[in-house]
Subunit: 315 residues, 2 copies
């Protein structure tokens, strides 16, 4: 049996696999190689490199392990027709993304950008800036799912009061209260930090409008770590220019990469995180922590593996 | 009765006091005024502005409330001789300092300095830097007292394994293990983050030596938020130049302000935090949260107030 990785991976991780599965022939490549496609029973991919033609060539393919959460760029129909097993690494982003969000919040509260600027200029300014504190704040989490819950858990450890907003208004884990999305306006005026980790659906496009920023506190922090189309870019720029809020931290944008001519680059009350909040040098290591038990199950004839997904449905 | 503040305070906080204690005559000044000294029964000070001569002039003085943790600059003998009651705001630094420490750790792990630099240069570098994760790390806390315990509590919430080092080796709160200071060398090789919040005593001067940095991991973070004399500056510079560790975050220094000619300003694997880690715009508010109940007690004739201290002993 042949397992084909379509991307480069660390030699130590490769060795780990080869040692642990001596009966398997592994091919570690950087890109799509016809010969490997034709012989592989399992393909491990980041989900952006396979075409419908590749699937046609992969006559022996029975399982695709996607080392990513998104499968938007995969040839879904071709895979579904052949009834190929697909699984992904859903949930892998939870911890690094949550740590990024906490890093940004604490950095703003404890004025790290000012400290870094002063250091660059060799300025010892003991009383500069206005450091404040996270404890005692109120945070509103839009989309309190797995990632939102982890954010809530850590914010509560910092003595932050957490309010969740979801479709149903049903209680969510690590939220002190949960409300329906259409009740959000009532809760914005008392919120210090608004965090969206909403996935993209038609319902969430431009969900946050100018009026919502007007309702937020002058010293509120707005963070978008879900999808770029949650707010229209022009609305965001207007709200920031008018200082309706203190600061925005953006990991996602309507257009990515953010165009060089975007006004967002010019504003000093925004942090531009180039869609990197979930990156981690431990990413592949974590992916293998999901892949290895799945491979063991698969070898034992059990296809009920972790994060098995319906490729057409997308989750 | 007259209460004299020797420093400027926010009008809303002044109003709160005046409203709550109509029977008291408050004087809010900026500095030492002879007439106020002579008439005040209570002085509220940051602890750096009173001389022995001032105490001699303050014939009616019965209580000094120090809105600071340190009383090193106060005329201790003069105060002790008159048996003047002294209390301070011990513990007020715990939360802001801990939030600063977590901010710095997460900022390094989630490469915020790189993100800020790229933004300044309008560079969208999605794959730049090497973000890593805090969870799963091991931290060694030198001096696991009130502040060290709060750091341990939050690190544990991030799934960090905490090791405390204190004089006795007795268990300390929020530490997974605790060892004696003289056993530190055994634990440094497995530690990812070394944090000192040790107060200054003769025993702790130059406690951390070059050999200790050699024992630390190449990618360790060393943080000094206690006293500047924990490490000799030349030793610290040597360890950083040789990249014995990944990064140092320094809030305290042997000489403060850090001299402009110090090599530390030049190194890119150090963060210079100008002894500001416990600053907070909520500082005075928090001080009053201690002062007000104490004033109520004092008015009721009860001098057993919070953080009552022995000025000669210093705590």
């Amino acid at each position: 049996m042949r397992v084909y990785f379509t991307f480069d991976s660390r030699p130590d991780l490769q060795k780990q696999l080869v040692d642990q599965f001596p009966e398997i022939e592994f091919a570690f490549r950087k890109g799509i190689v016809d010969n490997d496609l034709e012989t592989a029973e399992v393909i491990v991919t980041y989900g952006e490199d396979l075409s419908a033609e590749d699937i046609a060539k992969a006559q022996n393919l029975k399982w695709i392990f996607v080392a990513s959460a998104g499968v938007e760029k995969m040839p879904k129909e071709a895979i579904a027709q052949r009834n190929i097993l697909v699984s992904n690494v859903r949930g892998i982003h939870k911890k690094p993304m949550t740590e990024s969000i906490l890093a940004h919040i604490l950095s703003i509260k404890r004025i790290l950008p000012t400290i870094y600027n002063n250091q660059r200029n060799k300025v010892w300014d003991k009383r500069g800036g206005r450091p404040t504190e996270l404890n005692g704040s109120t945070a509103l989490i839009i989309g309190p799912g797995a990632i939102g819950g982890e954010i809530g858990r850590l914010l509560q450890a910092f003595d932050v009061y957490t309010i969740g907003c979801n479709r149903s208004g049903n209680p969510a884990e690590y939220m002190n209260e949960t409300f329906r999305m259409d009740e959000i306006s009532e809760h914005l005026p008392k919120t210090d930090i608004v965090i969206s980790v909403l996935p993209s659906t038609k319902e969430t496009e431009h969900l946050i409008k100018y009026e919502h920023f007007q309702l937020m506190k002058d010293n509120a922090i707005f963070m978008n770590f879900g999808r770029g189309n949650l707010v229209e870019t022009s609305v965001l720029i207007r709200a920031l220019e008018e200082q309706q809020i203190q600061h925005a931290v953006l990991d996602v944008f309507e257009e990515e990469p953010l165009p060089l001519e975007s006004k967002l680059w010019e504003l000093d009350n925004v942090t531009i995180s180039p869609h990197c909040s979930s990156h981690s040098s431990r990413y592949l290591e974590r992916s293998l922590e999901i892949f290895i038990p799945s491979l063991e199950k698969y070898l034992a004839g059990d296809t009920n593996i972790e994060n098995k997904m319906n490729i057409l449905r997308g989750y």
